[in-house]
């Protein structure tokens, strides 16, 4: 069928600079660059996905990828994008698929929050000269502690629940082996070990070669139960039950059979070449009581030595659900906002389901405090954290720590072209093609991730110091250190924030 879709980008090749070295031709899995019989290199705009791989590797800067949004007659309703979707579906009859997080221009509440700093009346702290504690513990805290004195020394009498110690309140989000390449998993695992934090296997199981990173690994138990067995649970530092994902709340997952090669097959414990389908719900969880059974099954299986996390997407009733999860016995609740990423999701779901993580953190923290059970769980927030300021604002709103997914991928080379579901990732990230996967050297990936999180941690320390705080735990849920700007009173009410300019209450 003749396509009516119009090229969205324009590839500009400066012929004065191009040396016909064909690096772009070799690097483009989408075949947007070609070479003719005379050795002349040329490009085909309609195949380009704007992943910028060719631009990054072109040794003479001869390439520029430009926005070429098709001109359709001025119409706020029937935009180029809406028409594109209709053409696509008229040609395929299928569901629109996409990758990465919600790109729509919904409000980004982080950009409507301002941080406090100390002036005169309480001194700010210089983190380069004075101790600054970014370490925190994730897990259930007791309602009260009982201390007895032994030989004049206080000794803790209360048995504490297992805790995850993170040296910085930044963890790597669940990204499954299969959706992402082995190199990504290795990069995340190695960086986590160096940083003193954790990475998360997602639902793809833990590749055998990465068991040595178990002490820095959170393993997931998802609705498909891929790769779940006793050694997998034993290897991990914590176990996460995945109920939902911010990019596609309410639906399951589908890893196409083409991505299930020998290693993915072994790791996921499914036949090579078979589709890995994660059901939308866990078929054994239809209530908080059922969830509690799974939480305690996992606790029994690991002899109460590991915290159990439950990950949900941020949806309308997130606060009540979180309360149920806390009461079901979870040690950690991970909440994934609607800007959270994915390897593949139906476009309509990614772009229209869920709520912003900012509102979800505030709603959950408030609810758990009101019910006096905030101490029973730690809250990890996820879904589109772009920089250290977003992280510190999330902690001030009430999160214990955050998960980075997209930012970690961007650090490794991702340019958010949203083509993950094609398996042709030119950056070697969202692919299982051995030729493409080699493009991500795990040494480079681990180093870039380490650098990113170190940089953010330094910035968080600086901002904390500016507020006169010397520990990240002193900021958690301390919303007086935030002020809102340009928000409605309803939004401020949910976020629990005062307007910029209001005095310290």
């Amino acid at each position: 069928m003749k396509t009516y879709q119009l090229p969205e980008v324009k590839i500009e090749r400066d012929k004065d600079r191009c040396i016909d070295c064909q690096v772009c031709v070799r690097q483009c899995a989408f075949e947007a660059h070609k070479v003719d019989e005379d050795g002349d290199v040329y490009s085909e705009d309609e195949k380009c996905v704007a992943c910028q791989r060719c631009v990054s590797l072109c040794p003479t800067n001869a390439l520029t990828i430009k926005d070429n949004t098709p001109f359709v007659k001025d119409n706020a309703n029937w935009t180029a994008e809406t028409q594109k979707y209709i053409w696509k579906q008229a040609e395929t009859g299928g569901v629109l698929l996409t990758g990465m997080g919600n790109p729509k221009p919904y409000p980004i509440y982080w950009d409507h929050m301002l941080l406090n700093a100390s002036q005169v009346t309480n001194p700010s702290i210089d983190p380069l000269r004075e101790p600054m504690e970014l370490r925190t513990y994730l897990g259930s805290k007791p309602d009260k502690i009982d201390i007895k004195m032994v030989d004049g020394e206080p000794v803790l009498n209360t048995k504490l629940a297992p805790q995850l110690m993170v040296k910085t309140p930044i963890l790597f989000s669940a990204m499954s082996f299969g959706a992402v390449s082995y190199s990504v998993c290795e990069g995340l695992a190695r960086a986590s070990k160096e940083l003193g934090t954790f990475w998360n296997t997602g639902e793809g199981g833990l590749p055998q070669n990465l068991y040595e990173y178990g002490p820095n690994t959170i393993v997931q138990v998802a609705s498909g139960r891929f790769g779940v067995h006793s050694e997998y649970l034993d290897a991990a530092a914590a176990i996460e039950i995945k109920i939902g994902q911010g990019a596609k709340p309410g639906i399951g997952g589908h890893l196409p059979g083409e991505k299930v090669g020998p290693v993915v097959s072994r790791t996921r414990m499914i036949p090579e070449g078979s589709d890995a389908i994660s059901p939308a719900p866990h078929h054994d969880i239809y209530s908080i009581e059922d969830l509690s059974q799974l939480i305690y099954s996992l606790k029994e299986a690991t002899e109460y030595t590991k915290p159990i996390s439950v990950k949900i997407s941020a949806v309308h009733n997130v606060a009540a659900i979180a309360s149920g999860i806390a009461r079901a016995g979870a040690d950690i609740i991970a909440i994934d906002g609607f800007r959270g990423g994915t390897g593949a999701a139906p476009t309509m779901i990614r772009d229209n389901v869920g709520i912003p993580i900012e509102l979800a953190i505030a709603a959950v923290d408030t609810r758990l405090r009101d019910e006096a059970i905030r101490n029973r769980v730690s809250v990890i927030a996820a879904g589109g954290f772009r920089n250290s300021a977003d992280v510190i604002k999330a902690i001030a709103l009430g999160a214990d720590a955050v998960y980075l997914g997209t930012a970690a991928l961007v650090a490794m080379g991702c340019h958010v072209c949203q083509m993950c579901y094609t398996g042709k990732c030119n950056w070697g990230i969202a692919t299982q093609d051995p030729y493409l996967e080699k493009r991500l050297n795990p040494d480079v990936a681990a180093e870039r991730l380490f650098n990113l999180v170190s940089g953010w941690s330094h910035e968080i320390a600086e901002m904390l110091g500016g507020m006169g705080l010397n520990a990240i735990e002193s900021l958690r849920g301390n919303r007086l250190h935030l002020r809102s700007i340009g928000l409605s009173t309803e939004e401020m009410d949910i976020l629990g924030l005062q307007a910029a300019g209001s005095p310290m209450a």
Binding site: I19, C21, R26, S56, L57, P59, T60, K438, V444
Partner: protein
């Protein structure tokens, strides 16, 4: 001695090592000029061998017992004190004997100048150009 080693598992077959080797061995050392305006054009001394997904860059191994040195009919190839196998273009007559005997296929034929071109480990640089410019750290320059 320090040699260039290839990490096959990280080589992505982009061939940027070849581009930068050619540039480094051009007269101008300007990448665009070297490729478009210099005649005869310099040639790369590194060659990426590829059978996807496997690929790796091959250049002179600077062997401990180099057969090319023994085979060279004019004495153009010698092993210097540092262990580097060096090639004197003045003495080279383009007989291609070294090309025939090299077990690595490292010497390259410069057909326009009828001379052999081989890796000289970039004497003007601290790290050879191919190693420094590899986008995926598939080449390392180290002592082993």
């Amino acid at each position: 001695m320090k040699r260039v080693y290839t990490k096959e598992e990280a080589c992505i077959g982009c061939r940027l090592c070849e581009v930068h080797c050619l540039t480094e061995h051009s007269r101008s050392k300007n990448i665009i000029k070297a490729h478009k305006k210099e005649f005869p054009r310099a040639i790369s001394r590194v060659l990426v061998e590829e059978l996807r997904p496997v690929s790796f860059a091959v250049q002179c191994r600077h062997c401990d017992e180099p057969v090319c040195v023994e085979a060279c009919i004019t004495g153009a190839i010698t092993k210097d004190e540092s262990g580097k196998v060096v090639h004197d273009e003045e003495k080279c007559v383009g007989c291609w004997t070294c090309v025939l005997v090299c077990p690595h296929g490292a010497p390259r034929r410069d057909l326009e100048r009828r001379k052999v071109a081989k890796c000289d480990l970039c004497p003007d640089r601290e790290t050879p150009a191919c190693v420094e410019m590899c986008p995926n750290r598939a080449l390392v320059y180290e002592e082993r």
